[in-house]
């Protein structure tokens, strides 16, 4: 029988650790600005293009502050581990709830994005795209936990 490609249950806690580290990486440099300088680095880039440049460079070494990239990496990787780790007790009904939650989250996430395409512009839309890095995982997690909670409540009241 085909098994769903989920992470083991034990991966959930490390996932939360990574998400927390990502949040701290975002918040601490605001409180202590010099911490942001720790992320300055010379790194290889497949492609690099400035916001105000016409030039696009391929396969170059650039100087960049990797704070934003670090935040995104930690939160996305942690979010994947949290969202797609097995439940302690995993079965076909839980898998069905997970699929329903993922479908719901995808519809809502892209529905909101479609609305934003024609209502939000310029730099504000850039912030929407940044948020969109995380919103699918976030909405899926909330919906999945909600579905699990109401099924457990239904049993308690049965």
């Amino acid at each position: 029988m085909k098994t769903t490609p989920l992470f083991p249950y034990s991966f959930r806690r490390p996932g939360w650790v990574l998400v927390t580290l990502g949040m701290l990486t975002a918040i601490l440099p605001i409180l202590f600005p010099t911490l942001g300088d720790l992320f300055d680095a010379r790194i290889p880039a497949l492609v690099a293009e400035g916001f105000m440049d016409d030039r696009r460079d391929w396969l170059v070494i650039i100087e960049n502050n990797l704070q934003d990239e670090s935040i995104a990496f930690l939160v996305i990787l942690g979010g994947l581990l949290v969202c797609f780790s097995r439940e302690k007790q995993e079965d076909e009904f839980i898998a069905r709830l997970r699929l329903d939650a993922l479908l719901w989250a995808t519809y809502i996430n892209y529905g909101l994005l479609l609305v934003a395409l024609f209502t939000v512009y310029e730099l504000s839309f850039f912030y929407i795209m940044v948020a969109n890095l995380f919103t699918l995982l976030f909405m899926f997690y909330i919906r999945f936990r909600y579905l699990l909670m109401i099924t457990r409540k239904q049993i308690d009241h049965a």
Binding site: D91, E92, F93, Q154
Partner: protein, 71 residues
Amino acid sequence: MRNSVRVERAIHQLTQEELASKVDVTRQTIHALETGKYVPSTVLALKIAAVFGKPLEAIFQLEPTDWDTTR
């Protein structure tokens, strides 16, 4: 799909938890089955029928609405 899982469970004096344990699913799954909120896979349906010692059709029956795939 209609099922008589709750009736069979009562006949065999099994709790939802006990039946869930026998067929290797969660109690939520048995509850969802009994309340008609979830249609089990073929394997799970066969396991449940095997636990009750009855043929599959004695536990699970198709309803006319199951033939309407446009719903």
